[in-house]
Symmetry: C2
Subunit: 395 residues, 2 copies
């Protein structure tokens, strides 16, 4: 106190200090503002481009408790920044109480206007740059898109992960308004789903095992990433390399609980000597009388897999209903769907619809999921003229 009053006295006596005071105040304020930026906006922190993933430093794959991802304690006081007026993201931290009214969470035809969150889920057995570029070209607001990946515990999985990380780092360290709302990468716990090469993986006898492992992977991914704020889930295979840019807007506009796009494949037609397209995914189908009869005669644990000559179901397959002269928005009711490019209202999953890895009405994985959605009184549709493209087969 004595020294303070001394200063007060000296200030009065010394006009130079009086002149200096505003300047000192200004320096202090600048310093404070600078510090505020540092802690709130991340300016001055390690550039993301140079950022090493925690596992690169720690040689581990378990991230929740790594210091890199630690956050300051949450304060209920809203942080303002008058200088930069940056949009503060809508983050509800762990450790605090979150309320959600699921009844007010909507999945509407006007998803983007309504600011509905879309979660794109992809089991990633290999990374195709065209898959990623296609994601980046989607015009749905990126800050409403969350991405989730599950990666098999195999060598090809590791390779895919490396490429994926580089791609994500690029986007998430770019302009703030160009970043995805959230990205989650899981390494699979259950048996790997990518053990088989492209050629042999379509053989009927290995399909049951492969589809069952894929179902487990889808469930792990789904249960770990769906949040109380999620409105839509888009299941998009890592092999889908081309879709319309307005994919999410187009598909949400149909306002269907489950909606599958028609998965085709571009190829070079050797006979006609021209580029052409052909149907690829035969998991989108309507049930047939033959299919029902087959099922009724089966043992409880036998399954029907669509698209094999060995099992003649005579089911109407959406792949063959494509007609380029008909409107792109044409819908058809389905009983089975594939996972190539299928949009699901989050409430369908939230009510319990998952991907059975065991025979469910003689169906598994995405086809079993469609049956489960129906058991939960949701309708399942497809868009025969709305094409998305699967990459070419390995040669």
């Amino acid at each position: 106190m004595g020294s303070l009053s001394l200063i007060g006295y000296k200030i009065k006596k010394n006009p130079v200090i009086t002149l200096l005071l505003p300047f000192i105040a200004l320096v202090s304020v600048y310093f404070v503002v600078f510090r505020t930026d540092d802690s709130i906006l991340g300016i001055g922190s390690l550039p993301l481009g140079n950022h090493k993933w925690a596992h690169e430093i720690e040689h581990t794959w378990y991230f929740p408790f790594t210091s890199r991802f630690k956050m300051p304690r949450y304060s209920y006081k809203t942080q303002h920044n008058w200088l930069f007026n940056d949009r503060v993201e809508d983050i509800i931290p762990e450790g605090h109480i979150a309320h959600y009214d699921l009844n007010k969470l909507r999945s509407t035809p006007d998803a983007a206007v309504d600011k509905e969150r879309v979660l794109i889920l992809t089991p990633l057995q290999s990374f195709d740059q065209r898959y990623w570029d296609n994601i980046l070209h989607l015009t749905y607001p990126r800050d409403l898109i969350e991405l989730g990946f599950i990666i098999p515990r195999t060598k090809t999985g590791e390779e895919a992960l490396k490429k994926l990380e580089i791609a994500i780092k690029d986007v998430q360290s770019d302009k703030k308004n160009q970043r995805f709302a959230k990205v989650t990468i899981l390494k699979q716990d259950s048996q790997s789903f990518d053990k088989l090469q492209e050629k042999e993986r379509h053989a009927l006898n290995v399909q049951k095992e492969r589809r069952s492992a894929m179902a487990l992977a889808r469930n792990e991914l789904l249960f770990s990433t769906i949040g109380p704020h999620t409105s839509w889930i888009l299941w998009l295979d890592a092999d889908i390399i081309e879709t319309p840019m307005s994919l999410i807007q187009d598909m949400t506009a149909h306002d269907k609980p489950v909606l599958a796009a028609n998965v085709f494949q571009r190829y070079y037609d050797d006979e006609k000597k021209e580029d052409s397209v052909r149907p690829y995914d035969f998991n989108n189908w309507q049930e047939s009388d033959s299919g029902r009869e087959l099922a009724s005669k089966m043992q409880p644990d036998e399954i029907i897999l669509e698209g094999y000559a060995e099992i003649a179901t005579y089911r109407p397959l959406m792949a063959y209903f494509h007609n380029k002269n008909n409107p792109i928005s044409e819908e058809m009711m389905l009983d089975g769907v594939g996972g190539g490019c299928t949009l699901v209202k989050a409430e369908v999953h939230r009510d319990g619809a998952m991907f059975p890895s065991f025979p469910f009405y003689h169906l598994i994985e995405t086809e079993g999921f469609a049956k489960m959605a129906k058991r939960l009184n949701y309708e399942v549709y497809g868009l025969p003229n709305y094409l998305v493209y699967h990459k070419e087969e390995f040669n």
Copy 2:
């Protein structure tokens, strides 16, 4: 620049300013440190006790986008605070990239030592103070416990919610190390599960509808709260008012995928004129030959509900296997479980096991869940001598 050199000149000329400079520097440093505390530790922010829930201010029930819960942008630079050295919580913010290795996520007999996260899920149709007090008495580290509630869209639900909020606010604004890691409260989207009074709700003809609605509520709650970091899920009914304090340690120690405690009820025995206990929950059972035969003759959508004279399954019920002279840790294999007090390894749910609201092998809800866990190759057990207590019936 002119004024700066002028100041430099004046400083040299004026010894008073030279004396003052260290003091000014000190003040600046103090100011900066104070600001750092403000933004990192939340000191100086609105005390939690005075905190109004956002819905109290906004008259809404939809929280994800309310400013109260907004967070500053995450910085990859670790925030240090040498002054208070407060434990920074392990928070992975939305908007950033999270990696999880599901294979390293464990559910072990040494859950507490291994710091495994336990998620306690409760569909809350009414709030009983004894339920809450019992939760608070649990000795498992509270910072490893997350709570999740789903509340029906009814008048009694609203009342339960009000009481729950007061109770939670009390704990979460108490000492930091006494808080739960996370609390999520959902309002139900689907039909309400509490429409029926205690007396009539056990009538067979209303059970199917009630159990189906309860299954939907459980799924909504499960899908919205399970995270990639969750190791165990404890399903605990809002009517369970008494359990051993070491409930979570005791049950995780058994290291079973699904494990049900035996739900009893305290009552006054009018004949013997003394306090006594009786079995309450009959959903924990082993399948019987009679049960299998019944099921084989049923229509696809008929269900078997245990504990009704109308359906004589002669299933061995865990409720009747209680023997107070036998060890408390005695296990028995089960085929159906109830939701009173049942511990589940998160991987069981993550692989797809949910609560069917439709007949699944002629079972629904928790009994259907047990069947589904078995279809996913997980074992289901019960603890006949490990008692937890359901509250008395309404009179």
